[in-house]
């Protein structure tokens, strides 16, 4: 039955379609469920994300606070550094600097940030920029760059280290710099080196001097035969004896050797007590009358020797033999330096030093000095030779011209033994000036001077207040004034004087002009006249009269006297002021 077969086939087809339908329906349902689940998951995740965002925002806020705190810490660290610290970007613009940087340059931080060095300092050295570029380019630090910058305190030497400023990937994005002001350090170093040089020079000369002296003792014995026997031999020889000539030569050489030995012995006698009170003018006067000077003059007729001796020159303590040799050696050197044609000036002067001054050897301390100056218009000394001129046997002269080679060494030793100082000023082709500073002594003063009779300026127990910052000066003033029958009080500063005069009074104030530290003579006098209008006063100073001295006199102060003062000078001035 065909129909039933077809029905069977159709049934089969329907069955198959049903299966497919079932499969598709089931898949559809599952897919929908999965879609639903996915959507739910999606929403879960989205809402989860919102929570995450809130969390992250909070974390970021905390992180920012932390960063700010760290940044503040860093700034404190940077600002605590005495070195100048700066960060620059790749365009050389400052992006961060510390307080030291801003203060040294005297520019507020806000005006530095974003600027380049060249913008801050137009016309500045290119060097800095080149270093920056080098550091940026190589990615390596450049250290110990020396340079100078203009600061509020003036031009300063700086030592700079520049280090590449890198991002986390190691790429150079700028530089970090550390600069230290080394001006003071350099200055101190230079001074130290100078001092060390001088000290070693001193030691060297001392050592050579001692050695030379030691040799001299033995030499002298050996020489006596050479000096004495030629005379004996010559006496016994006929006038026409052909051996006379050589023997005379032996005698001359012996005498020359003896002169050298004598100088050596002078050196060797270093350290003899220099306690005799003497006046340098007398030493010079004696020398000028000596045969040695006579010889010098006759050998150098075209050299003009001038003497300018200060009247009332202070006394010093010393050894007349050594000082005479010193004068002689300096003078003969000066004459020789002129190459027998020129001028030599020999002078003495009283000088008071308010402040230490630099000299050839160590610096000369403040105080009263007698200065011996020998000035010539000779050939001068080269700077590089200047250091050696006091060394024994050092000479620039053609050997054998004259002298023993020990002249200047004797000068050196003498000055040192007299606790004096030496100063040498020389210019090649123009001449040389040698100054010897000898400390003044007050001993033997009274008998030495007084050209105006004492009694004309004796006091009558008037009260005098001496204001001076130097203890020695106060002592000298006291001695002098008490000798002149005054009642003396001393104070060591201007303020102390003002205090003193608040409770007590003085007939006269002797006021030092330059006092350090503290207020000077003028300021002191200003305050004094506020307290005691018309207070009588005398102004003293080692310097010449200045505007400040004149200002004080305009306010009512009396005479100005230059230190160092003699009994006569101060006595007359006091009398005059008291009588005013």
């Amino acid at each position: 039955m065909a129909g039933s077969k077809e029905i069977q086939e159709l049934k089969e087809k329907i069955l198959q379609l049903e299966v497919r339908n079932k499969h598709l329906t089931n898949e559809l349902q599952l897919t929908e469920k999965e879609k639903e689940a996915a959507r739910k998951n999606y929403f879960d995740i989205i809402s989860n994300m919102e929570a995450k965002v809130t969390e992250r925002t909070r974390e970021t806020g905390e992180l920012r606070k932390l960063t700010e705190a760290k940044s503040k810490e860093l700034q404190i660290m940077l600002d605590s550094s005495p070195a100048m610290i700066f960060y620059k970007d790749s365009q050389n613009r400052y992006i961060r600097v510390n307080k030291a940087f801003s203060q040294t340059l005297g520019i507020p931080i806000s005006k530095i940030i974003g600027k380049t060095f060249a913008e801050l300092f137009p016309g500045s050295e290119k060097q800095f920029l080149e270093d920056d570029l080098e550091v940026m380019r190589s990615g390596k630090p450049v250290l110990n760059i020396t340079g100078s910058i203009e600061t509020r305190k003036g031009r300063r030497q700086v030592l700079t280290n520049k280090i590449p400023y890198k991002d986390i990937n190691g790429k150079s994005i700028g530089i970090i710099g550390f600069a230290v002001d080394v001006t003071d350090l350099k200055q101190a170093e230079m001074e130290k080196r100078e001092l060390e040089d001088k000290l070693s020079q001193l030691e060297k000369m001392e050592a050579i001097g001692r050695l030379a002296g030691g040799v001299a003792h033995d030499l002298n014995n050996v020489l006596s035969a050479v000096v004495s026997y030629p005379d004996l031999l010559l006496k016994r020889m006929e006038a026409g004896n052909p051996l006379r000539k050589p023997i005379e030569t032996i005698r001359q050489s012996g005498q020359k050797a003896a002169a050298i030995v004598e100088d050596l012995l002078t050196l060797a006698r270093r350290g003899v007590p220099v306690t005799e009170v003497l006046n340098l003018n007398d030493i010079i006067a004696n020398y000028l009358e000596s045969p040695e000077y006579e010889t010098l003059r006759t050998h150098n007729p075209s050299v003009l020797i001038e003497t300018r001796l200060e009247k009332n020159l202070f006394n010093i303590k010393g050894s007349p033999i050594h000082l005479t040799k010193t004068v002689m050696n300096l003078l003969s050197n000066a004459v020789e330096a002129t190459l027998h044609k020129g001028t030599v000036i020999l002078s003495t002067a009283n000088r008071y030093l308010d402040m230490p001054i630099k000299s050839y050897d160590l610096s000369v301390k403040e105080g009263d000095y007698v200065v011996l100056t020998v000035e010539d218009t000779g050939i001068g000394i080269k700077p590089e030779d200047l250091k050696k001129i006091f060394e024994p046997f050092y000479t620039k002269k053609v050997m054998g011209r004259s002298g023993t080679g020990l002249g200047m060494a004797v000068v050196w030793g003498t000055v040192k033994d007299h606790k004096g100082n030496i100063n040498v000023i020389s210019e090649e082709g123009k001449g040389t000036t040698i100054e010897l500073y000898f400390p003044v002594t007050r001993e033997g003063l009274l008998k030495a001077e007084a050209s105006i009779p004492f009694k004309e300026y004796m006091g009558n127990k008037e009260r005098i207040l001496v204001v001076d910052d130097m203890p020695e000066q106060r002592e000298i003033s006291t001695t002098l004034l008490e000798t002149l029958n005054y009642t003396v009080e001393t104070v060591s500063s201007g303020m102390a004087a003002v205090e003193y005069l608040k409770t007590r009074s003085a007939d006269l104030v002797i006021l030092d002009m330059i006092m350090t530290p503290g207020i000077d003579g003028l300021d002191t006098y200003r305050r004094i006249v506020e307290l005691k209008p018309g207070q009588k006063a005398i102004i003293t100073s080692g310097y010449s009269e200045t505007g400040r001295v004149r200002e004080a006199q305009r306010l009512g102060a009396g005479e100005y006297i230059k230190k160092p003062y003699t009994l006569e000078k101060i006595g007359l001035a006091v009398r005059k002021e008291l009588a005013r």
């Binding site: 069955l15 299966v19 497919r20 499969h23 329906t25 089931n26 996915a38 879960d44």
Partner: protein, 300 residues
């Protein structure tokens, strides 16, 4: 071998199986244990979320990488124009079912990696067989029952893990078994019983039980050659697995062993799952098409 058979008692046999399980658990194979059981746990927990699945996969970085790579491969990403850069994205866009399947596949695949041919057997063909069975079983669940069938998929993937254990740790015996099966034309289980006194279904069950997988899986795998003896609550999954296994072996997804041909059991299983032969054919055809596509994309 015969000695073992004759002297073997029940206790002896259990001890032999345990020996093999111990070997497996001290070998590389057990490295899939933690990720595998974690994924299975997610599958069997109705309250599990995307986050948990993501965490399970992320705990195993090589797996996560493989999952992402596979998810971005042409086979899976056909409908997506984007590249997935993290697991969460992939789960949202592809759905957790696909990702679970993908992760399982990648994980289980690890134990099939070394290719070695013995007779007509090779691990590669065993792996392909396992995938086919897994997919077939899953499709039966989806199309016929309207259920996800994820456990059926896992069961399919793992049902022959006992064979891997024998292949790797009892290579001599395993060769003997294969030869015996081929020479005498007996199915594999019978050959195994002759040589070892136990078969790969027992070994598989013991391994997976030692890994803490749920009873549904271990029991089903343990009874995949005698599904009718399985526990009543697992009769459907057992029947589905048996049906899939048999049909795959018969129709070109065999791994070289002589198939069992118990027509009676097969018909009874079809009855249990209530699937018409036509429907089975249809499902098989679709499965074959999928496998072909995956193979095409180099995923198998």
């Amino acid at each position: 071998m015969m000695q073992r058979e004759t002297t073997g008692t029940f206790g002896q046999k259990a001890a032999n199986i345990q020996n093999l399980v111990d070997l497996v658990n001290s070998s590389d194979i057990s490295s899939i244990k933690s990720s595998l059981s974690a994924i299975v746990r997610v599958i069997n927990d109705p309250r599990s979320t995307v986050k948990e699945l993501k965490e399970v996969i992320l705990l195993d970085p090589p797996l996560a990488a493989k999952v992402l790579k596979t998810a971005n491969s042409a086979y899976y990403s056909r409908s997506f124009t984007r590249v997935f850069t993290d697991i969460e994205q992939a789960i949202i866009w592809m759905g957790s079912e696909i990702i679970k399947e993908l992760a399982l596949g990648q994980k289980v695949c690890e134990v099939f990696d070394r290719d070695e041919k013995i007779e007509t057997y090779s691990r590669r063909s065993l792996w392909k067989h396992s995938i086919a069975v897994a997919m077939m079983a899953k499709m039966i669940y989806r199309k016929e029952f309207g259920m996800k069938g994820e456990n059926a998929y896992v069961a399919g993937l793992l049902h022959d893990i006992g064979i891997i254990a024998e292949d790797q740790f009892l290579p001599k015996d395993f060769k003997t078994i294969l030869r015996l099966s081929a020479d005498q034309n007996v199915d594999m289980c019978s050959a195994e019983l002759q040589i070892l006194g136990y078969d790969h279904t027992e070994v598989g069950e013991a391994i997976l039980a030692s890994w803490g997988l749920p009873g549904e899986l271990t029991t089903t795998i343990g009874s995949h050659h005698n599904p009718l003896e399985s526990r009543p609550e697992y009769s459907i999954i057992a029947a589905a697995l048996y049906t899939s296994d048999l049909i795959c072996q018969e129709r070109g997804f065999s791994f070289g062993a002589v198939p069992e041909s118990d027509k009676q059991a097969f018909r009874q299983c079809l009855d249990i799952i209530d699937v018409k032969p036509y429907a089975l054919d249809l499902i098989f055809k679709e499965m074959t098409a999928e496998i072909a596509k995956m193979e095409d994309r180099g995923l198998i």
